[in-house]
Amino acid sequence: MITYLAKRLIAIIPLLLGITLISFFVIRLAPGKPVMLQQSLNPKISLEEIKRLEKLEGLDKPLFTQYKNWLWNMLRFNFGRSIGDGRLVIDKIMERLPVTLTINILSLFFLFLFAIPIGVKAAVKANTAFDHITTLVTFLFFAAPTFWLALLGMQLFCIQLKWLPISGITSLDFEYLSWWGKLVDLSRHLILPVIVSSIGGIAGLSRYMRSSMLEALSQPYIYTARSKGLSEKQVVYKHALRNALLPLVTIVGLSIPGLLGGSIIFESIFSIPGIGRLFYEAAMMRDINLIMAEVVLVALLTMMGNLIADISYAYVDPRIRYKK
């Protein structure tokens, strides 16, 4: 396992390099000079202003030099200033990152909480009414665009039923609430976003769990388990499940980009102050420093997520953990 880990960790370096390269060049090479975009937002800007801005941002140097400068700065966590309000990009990101991370981690938690039991039950009761119904429902939820579900949810729960608040993560009087009151307030604000962002994932993961479970139940060692006199419950939950859960660890890693990407839309809908909404605002403003910083950041988060998933997998599967 140590060799596996070492190999995995070393492989990160070219990945990091690749991420920065692609982030930089894809965005810089897109048609339209960044400063021209500022011009499109503010047509009164003069030619000298443009030249001055370009020099300030170092945009008059050759592309590769720009990359080196940017990379060097990035390694010192200096992503430059936001073109929008002049604040340091890194500050703006850091104040919003915890919110997005919290919501996504909660979503992951719900993902597992619901997808696993549903998938297992669908596999154990394969081809029965339960299985057919869950299959239908999961297909429907999987096909529904998350932002549409968010809108519908808002319509139903916030406007018609008035059970939940419609936007933000805290109420106006948050500061004055007790510790418990704060918790309740936060939960009321977060419950709809978290559920909406995890529904598609629950649908998908439960399908995967089902097929993984069916695969495990068709393995030879299931016969052994039965022949030993284990009850069907023990066969399913002790022998099959443990094997079926293994590949799910990597699936979690694969869901992270989806969760992060989805954050953009529903943070905008729910007016949640997270990095997704920040990115949307940056995109609208053509705030190039902020855009690039976030692209790199989410790529890093994805990469770390995958790494953790791979390491966890190597840990839980004895065939990898203990090589011959």
């Binding site: 030879p220 060692y221 016969y223 052994t224 022949s227 006199g229 293994l246 203990y322």
Partner: protein, 264 residues
């Protein structure tokens, strides 16, 4: 004759699309106490399915169409799941063809053997562990502590099969059903395992139903032999009778197949 196991007119089939295809077409088989019976036949003759049907651990798309299996005075096929769970592993045990596939890859050998012990005997986890170590030594594994802590993928086929045998004999069953246990092993290991089975049979006193497509194995271990062909028993007799005067054409085929290779 007082048989340990008596199979009468057993019919088992697979459900395919709308039809049922019979693969075991009326099998009659008797095994006596402390007797070693070799059930030989070509692949696809229905031997494995029949053996699984005895304790009703069939795959999902297979079903028992007719017949009775008498064991300990009761028809096993008519018992409910609760009663069968008691019998499996404790009175009737199995060993299978590829031990590495038939052992759960995510649990250690020791925990899988202990599980068998704790199921039918009232022992603590610790007590079961010690019993498992003893069992491993009984199957002539010297390095029992290391094997106890190992996972199936870390061990050779032969070692896994010994461990499997230990697991199956943990609760001292009266009948051991062995479905091609040596087919995927090296010839030298195969001989060792066969010898081991015979020794254990003498020490512990159980009946052995040994399923194989290699009839020459019978010479080493069988009291009696039954030949299965296309879902039916086509010939049976003592080991000596079968080899000296085979009657059915398939029996002769099986004998010839292995005489040519000169196995065992």
């Amino acid at each position: 004759m007082d048989s340990l196991l008596s199979i009468k007119n057993l019919k088992v089939g697979f459900s395919q699309e709308e039809k049922t295809v019979e693969v075991v077409r009326g099998v009659n088989l008797d095994i006596g106490h402390n007797e070693s019976l070799v059930l030989a036949g070509e692949s696809g003759s229905g031997k494995s399915i029949m053996s699984l049907a005895i304790t009703k651990i069939l795959p999902a798309n297979a079903r028992i169409i007719a017949g009775e299996v008498y064991f300990g005075g009761k028809d096993l096929l008519k018992l409910d799941e609760e009663a069968l769970v008691d019998i499996r592993g404790s009175s009737i045990a199995y060993i299978f063809q590829e031990p590495s596939s038939f052992l759960n890859p995510v649990y250690t050998i020791g925990s899988q053997i202990s599980e068998a012990i704790m199921l039918h005997q009232h022992k603590s986890r610790e007590g079961a562990g010690f019993a498992a170590l003893e069992l491993l030594q009984q199957v002539r594994i010297d390095d029992s502590e290391r094997i106890f802590r190992s996972y199936p993928h870390q061990l050779s086929g032969g070692m896994n099969q010994r461990a499997f045998i230990a697991m199956s004999l943990a609760c001292k069953p009266k009948l051991l059903i062995a479905d091609e246990p040596t087919t995927s092993l090296d010839v030298t290991i195969e001989v060792e395992i066969l010898q081991l089975l015979m020794q254990l049979k003498m020490e512990l006193g159980f009946s052995l139903l040994f399923i194989t497509h290699n009839l020459s194995i019978a010479k080493r271990i069988a009291d009696r032999v039954s030949i299965m062909h296309q879902g039916k028993i086509v010939e049976e007799g003592s080991c000596a009778e079968i080899f000296s005067s085979p009657k059915h054409f398939h029996t002769k085929e099986l004998i010839q197949a292995y005489e040519k290779i000169g196995r065992l």
